[in-house]
């Protein structure tokens, strides 16, 4: 499904923070979780995910740590208190927009 870039702006950050608020995850796990939890409606570009995670880390929204699982090194991400506040802001903004669009659609 083609995704409108401007409409999707900010959505990857919202989805990643929402998923990480439930549990820490590594990149591949996150990409799969996004697809599954949005019923395949949204698919994050897998090459886009890592720079976005690093950028979120520099802004203090997530923190990373390396873990060795079954002999493989993985970088797990967890949400920070600042990330939780950001999630609250993004969720509110998204609900407001979604509510507006729904009201418009139901009105026609």
């Amino acid at each position: 499904m083609a995704q409108n870039a401007s409409l999707m702006s900010g959505v990857p950050e919202l989805l990643v923070l929402r998923l990480l608020s439930a549990q820490e995850m590594y990149g591949y796990e996150l990409a799969r979780a996004v697809r599954e939890s949005t019923r395949q409606a949204i698919s994050l570009g897998e090459g886009v995910l890592y720079p976005a995670l690093h950028a979120m880390e520099t802004r203090g929204f997530v923190k990373a740590r390396r873990r060795t699982v079954s002999g493989r090194t993985r970088v797990y991400y967890a949400i920070t208190p600042r990330g939780n506040r950001r999630l609250g802001e993004l969720s509110g903004e998204w609900r407001r927009i979604a509510g507006g669009v729904r009201a418009l659609l139901e009105g026609t």
Partner: protein
């Protein structure tokens, strides 16, 4: 996709100024992601070659991956984000700090020698040599060290050559304006050490110009030669 491809990505990112710690971790993560994708596709029944090919498509080409990462300027190294600080301000501060510390060390040597060891100007022992060494460090070596550190940071962060050249020139000019002298005679048994940074009119001649040029040549010639050599090697097929 092979390890060689990720090595190429790593080199591209470093050259573009992405901070080394981000590059190192991004490559580890992308490598692991690639391996996970291949395993997923293999379990869906694809051959190893088909799985690797599809995994490479899903991750994106090296150019696309690089572009995605460069879209986040906050991932660049601090030297690339604030070149004026890394290549101009810090080297000048480093030069001043080294000069002051070398002068303070010389004062410490003289005070310790005269007050604790009881050395006098009649039998000075190695004291004048040690003080001369510290003075030489402050006046001659400190500018080269400060300018060299700026060039090293520039090389690591892949910064454009303009910034380290500007920083080296300013450091060389300021370094040539430093002066230090030590006199120790029976007339002044405690010794007289003087040092300073300033533009003294009598020193604005040939000696200062030579010191400036010497510092610039010592630091910049090897750096420029290495950059040229690296470019030549990179252009080889």
């Amino acid at each position: 996709m092979t390890m060689q491809r990720f090595e190429g990505l790593s080199r591209r990112l470093l050259r573009a100024g992405i901070a080394p710690h981000h590059v190192k971790r991004l490559v580890v993560e992308i490598e692991a992601h690639f391996a996970d994708l291949v395993a997923e596709l293999r379990s869906a029944g694809l051959s190893q070659a088909e799985s690797e090919s599809q995994a490479a498509v899903r991750l994106g080409t090296e150019e696309v991956l690089t572009a995605n990462i460069l879209a986040h300027p906050e991932l660049r190294s601090w030297a690339r984000q604030r070149p004026w600080l890394a290549f101009v301000v810090l080297p000048l501060v480093a030069l001043a700090v080294q000069f002051v510390l070398s002068m303070l060390a010389a004062v410490g040597v003289i005070v310790f020698s005269t007050h604790v060891l009881g050395i006098t100007s009649l039998y000075p022992g190695p004291v004048p040599w040690v003080v001369a060494g510290l003075q030489a460090y402050g006046v001659w070596i400190a500018p080269v060290a400060a300018a060299g550190a700026a060039c090293l940071i520039a090389a690591r962060s892949g910064a454009p050559i303009t910034w380290p050249v500007a920083g080296c020139t300013l450091v060389a000019l300021l370094g040539a304006a430093t002066n230090a002298s030590f006199e120790w005679s029976p007339a002044g048994p405690q010794g007289v050490l003087s040092g300073g940074i300033g533009l003294h009119v009598p020193e604005l001649g040939l000696a200062s110009s030579l010191r400036t040029i010497l510092t610039i040549l010592t630091v910049l010639v090897p750096v420029l030669w290495l950059r040229r050599r690296r470019k030549e090697l990179a252009s080889l097929p």
